[in-house]
């Protein structure tokens, strides 16, 4: 079996308020077609692109997160092709001088850590979207197409990896890592479903003699699952062709998610000449050392740093730390919870079990969870002080989440009394229970409760009545003495 060799091109849509070269809103999802457009992104004659500084900042951030070096003097190029989604008939992109070069990310796959090298990261604008009005949404057969330019000119950063991945597991781990980083840095939403993270896969097989086979690019893989399936299909296909003595052609293939196959889209011979050429309408970008340093200083803690720190400072296990740092918001929540005075191990436990369960039930992301981290912290502290049992605390948390109440009010709403029920208060409850069960009381007092079953029954009723707020030992002794 030949070893698969995979490199990825990941397009991240940058989280800017406006497009890359004009002041149109970037909030295009769900917008009426062709409303987020202006003379610049429609290529009206006479207009000129104006570079969005924020996009540069985000690209630099991402570049630094990928351990790249940031180029001081970079330029844009024009990539020419005629298509209806591209009003200028060229895409403004970076070609010879990308803004960030030579980085890496460490991924965990197959129980090991592996370093995947990043060739470069560059900035470019997105194209518009073609809408084909056939009922099955296919390109062929429609007598006309519609174009929506809302997405045209959206800022993208393309991250090009070296061909350092050798399995679907590594590929998925790499994408997940990039996505996590993008979200940590607040550079992109990184959602494959909405298209803010898009992946093109380059795959070849390494022959037994170590030489690399013909490279094939796979497009149209729109979820981690499709990437995994497409890789599986393509590895099998390429192996089969070679096993049968055939030759692979260098080509671009489209993944068909329904049929579960890749299909040839265009071969190398048909590869377009994009006539790359310097974009003279834009001055060179100067991301000088001071600028880069300023951004570097503003970078938040990286996910891997946070993971290490959680293990070190909060004595969490690898698994706990990984789970809690997967999303920055979860990690933040955890830390706030801890700073409310709750022990880290307990916080981790509550978050991984109860909070997770509630989020799942409520179908909410952590940042929308109605219980404030500090309130959860207070709740855990009360359990620690034995003011509440675990069971009670779970009920209270459910009420906090459901009714959006702080701890104290939720406890009242639950009907849980605050603190322990003891002494005369407990005696009162026992009297009430006895009054309700005269037969059982009589049986015991008559000395007919040979196996002690009735006593246990009465103790159980008292415990239920106190909702677990009484000390079982005190209940037992009081019940016994009061039965005498």
């Amino acid at each position: 079996m030949r070893e698969p060799v995979v490199g990825l091109e990941i397009h991240l849509q940058l989280k800017t308020k406006t497009k890359l070269f004009c002041s149109c809103s970037s909030d295009y999802i769900g917008a009426t077609p062709n409303t987020n457009v202006c003379p610049v992104c429609l290529a009206i004659p006479g207009t000129l692109p104006i570079l969005n500084d924020h996009a540069v900042e985000l690209a630099v951030k991402m570049g630094l997160g990928l351990h790249c070096s940031i180029s001081d003097n970079t330029r844009f190029h024009r990539k020419h092709y005629f298509y209806a989604d591209l009003p200028k008939a060229y895409q403004i992109t970076q070609y010879e001088h990308p803004i960030a070069v030579g980085g890496y990310v460490d991924i965990a796959a197959g129980g090991k850590t592996k370093r995947i090298r990043v060739h470069h990261l560059h900035l470019e604008e997105d194209a518009g979207k073609l809408v084909h009005p056939t009922s099955d949404g296919r390109l062929t057969g429609a007598s006309y197409s519609l174009v929506d330019y809302n997405r045209g000119g959206m800022p993208l950063s393309e991250i090009v990896s070296e061909p350092d991945m050798n399995s679907a597991e590594e590929v998925l781990a790499y994408i997940t890592q990039i996505r996590q980083l993008a979200r940590y840095l607040d550079v992109s939403d990184g959602e494959m479903e909405s298209g803010s993270l898009r992946v093109d896969v380059n795959i070849s097989l390494r022959n037994d003699d170590g030489s690399l086979g013909t490279r094939v690019e796979i497009k149209n893989v729109n979820s981690l699952r499709s990437i995994e399936r497409a890789l599986g299909y393509e590895i099998a296909r390429q192996n089969k062709v070679l096993d049968e003595g055939g030759c692979l052609v260098r080509e671009t293939r489209l993944w068909d998610d329904v049929a579960g196959v890749t299909r040839s889209m265009r071969s190398k011979e048909g590869e377009r000449d994009y006539r790359y050429y310097v974009e003279m309408d834009l001055a060179p970008i100067s991301a000088g050392p001071e600028y880069v340093e300023e951004i570097r200083k503003s970078l938040p803690e990286m996910p891997w740093e946070k993971r290490e720190r959680f293990i070190r400072d909060h004595s969490l296990s690898e698994e706990e730390a990984a789970q809690l740092t997967e999303q920055k918001e979860t990690a933040d929540y955890f830390e706030e919870c801890v700073s409310a005075g709750a022990p880290a191990a307990k916080c981790a436990n509550w978050m991984r079990m109860e909070v997770q369960r509630l989020l799942h039930e409520m179908d909410l992301p952590i940042e929308k969870f109605p219980v404030k981290a500090s309130e959860l912290g207070k709740l855990i502290v009360r359990v620690e002080k034995r003011e509440l049992s675990n069971t009670q605390a779970k009920d209270v948390l459910a009420v906090m989440a459901e009714k959006e109440l702080p701890v104290d009010e939720a406890i009242k709403a639950c009907g849980v009394s605050c603190g322990k029920i003891t002494g005369p208060a407990l005696e009162e409850i026992i009297k009430k229970v006895f009054a309700g069960e005269p037969e059982a009381v009589e049986t015991v007092r008559a000395g007919n409760d040979k196996k002690g079953a009735k006593v246990k029954f009465l103790q159980g009723l008292v415990m239920r009545e106190t909702r677990g707020s009484a000390d079982p030992a005190e209940v037992a002794s009081l019940v016994n003495s009061m039965l005498k």
């Binding site: 290529a43 005629f82 008939a89 060229y90």
Partner: protein, 493 residues
């Protein structure tokens, strides 16, 4: 009152002090255009209605004691590649025949804000590609100094209109000489400022790294005032420099005493029209008379390679900038069985022969295999040309050289000898390649009444100093008079 003989500043002065109204100045100019433009075809669109409103607004401002602006009531024209809100902007091409922009180019906006009144749009070579103003869909413009000759191009309509007294000021765009060469052919003053001096926003692009807006006037004081109005940073054009501009109107009067001015030598003056060689000498004499020191200079790299380099850079860029005309969102549209066929038909039908030729050459230059052999060397040569000028201007303040090797061409030469016309850009295109300021200045006329202009060049962003030099020469040579087109041709009056 012969309004058409007044300079822009004289008109503004009279409007401001109530001597005359902007509206009557406008009427006089419109009337002259209506009466005589049939002879030279310099104006392709008149925007009388909006012009009247603009002039009335100026008159109202004066009546109410508000500042009506530097160019209060000055009627002006703009080349038809300046986007003008509500006024069709065709680039004199079938491609944009019906296109009406909904915004004003920054240059237009600045003129209007200064109180100038836009009368209409002028004829040009299609998409500014040409040197004769003969490739317009509206037909050729004729030279107001001699109807048998071309006005030059591509801003031929603007230059001819200023020479004909249709406006004291017109705007052109200059990619390789398109303001300066027609100014020379029509006997007016034309300037291409330093690259980055005036915003390109709203100018339909020919070549991004070469295009620059340029004013055309009949005297240098108007030119300096126009520079004051037009130059300045623009948030819509990041290639327009943000530096603090000096007052060009102050600078133009500063004189050239003690300045060192070089006269270009070492070029083939034998193949040039004799009066133009003499014009250089005359200009140098005027400089000396004004107190400047005259030296000689050679620019071997520029003289040998500028034209070839210019056409590589310009056409490469043109093929890219003109790719947006696919007939889908604006411009000429032709149907086809599929998208590519629509594109091909729309572009084939929409663009004229010269434009198609230049796009094809430009596309070829940027194509894999040719790019390294043509475009890349051209960019290197371009840098060498810029360096050669930079070196020159370390030692001298300005350069005097020809702007065109030839007096205005006879009509139709472009068909007979296109290469000769391309080579005509030999002296003018270097300023664009190096981003330098350059002025086409009239220093008199031949016995036959043909204008003889020279070119003045200065260091990058040395526009103010260059204006002072031009003014000093103009003081000696006199500013060119309005062409008496009413007497030519024999028809009417």
């Amino acid at each position: 009152m012969e309004f058409h003989k007044l300079s822009a500043l004289e008109i503004a002065e009279g409007v401001k002090n109530g001597k005359w109204k902007a509206s009557e100045v406008l009427s006089a100019h419109l009337e002259r255009i209506r009466k005589y433009d049939g002879r030279i075809n310099s104006v392709v669109t008149l925007s009388e209605e909006s012009a009247r409103k603009e002039a009335e607004a100026v008159d109202r401002a004066v009546a109410e004691g508000r500042d009506p602006g530097r160019f209060a009531g000055v009627p002006f024209l703009a080349k038809d590649n300046f986007c003008t809100e509500g006024i069709r902007t065709t680039c004199c091409s079938k491609m944009l025949e019906d296109w009406i922009p909904d915004y004003d180019a920054t240059a237009i906006k600045r003129m209007k804000e200064a109180g100038a009144v836009l009368m209409g749009k002028t004829n040009m070579d299609e998409f500014a590609m040409g040197s004769t103003t003969e490739s317009s869909i509206f037909g050729p413009t004729l030279n107001p100094r001699d109807f048998g000759r071309v006005p030059g191009g591509s801003s031929g309509g603007s230059a001819a209109a200023v020479a004909a007294g249709f406006a004291p000021l017109a705007l052109g765009s200059d990619t390789g000489g398109s303001v300066r060469q027609p100014s020379a052919f029509c006997g007016v003053q034309g300037m291409k400022p330093s690259y980055g001096q005036i915003s390109r926003y709203g100018i339909v692009a020919y070549a991004s790294s070469l295009d620059q807006v340029g004013p055309i006037t009949r005297n240098m004081k108007d030119m300096a005032a126009a520079m004051d109005v037009l130059a300045g940073a623009d948030p819509n054009d990041t290639t327009c420099d943000a530096y603090e501009r000096p007052s060009f109107s102050d600078a133009v009067l500063s004189g050239i005493k003690g300045k060192k001015v070089a006269v270009l030598t070492g070029f083939d003056s034998e193949s040039m029209d004799r009066p133009l060689v003499e014009a250089i000498d005359r200009a140098a004499e005027y400089c000396r008379a004004a107190g400047a020191e005259i030296v000689k200079a050679k620019l071997p790299i520029t003289m040998k390679h500028a034209v070839a380099c210019y056409y590589m850079v310009a056409l490469g860029d043109a093929s890219s900038k003109l790719a947006c005309y696919d007939g889908m969102r604006y411009g000429h549209h032709a149907d086809g069985r599929n998208l590519m066929e629509m594109y091909k038909r729309s572009r084939n039908e929409g663009f004229g022969k010269e434009v198609r030729k230049r796009i094809l050459i430009g596309t070829c230059i940027l194509t894999r295999g040719y790019y390294d052999n043509y475009y890349v060397p051209a960019t290197k040569v371009r840098q060498m040309i810029a360096d050669e000028y930079a070196e020159l201007f370390r030692n001298v303040d300005a350069l005097i050289c020809p702007i065109s090797p030839a007096l205005p061409y006879r009509k139709g030469l472009v068909e007979e000898d296109p290469v000769r016309i391309y080579l005509g850009d030999a002296f003018s295109s270097a300023a664009n390649l190096a981003g330098l300021p350059s002025i086409s200045l009239n220093v008199g006329f031949t016995e036959d009444g043909l204008p003889t202009n020279v070119q003045l060049m200065g260091p990058r962003f040395g526009d103010a100093g260059l204006l002072a030099l031009a003014q000093a020469i103009e003081n000696e040579a006199g500013s060119p008079a309005v062409a008496d087109i009413e007497k030519k041709g024999g028809c009417e009056e």
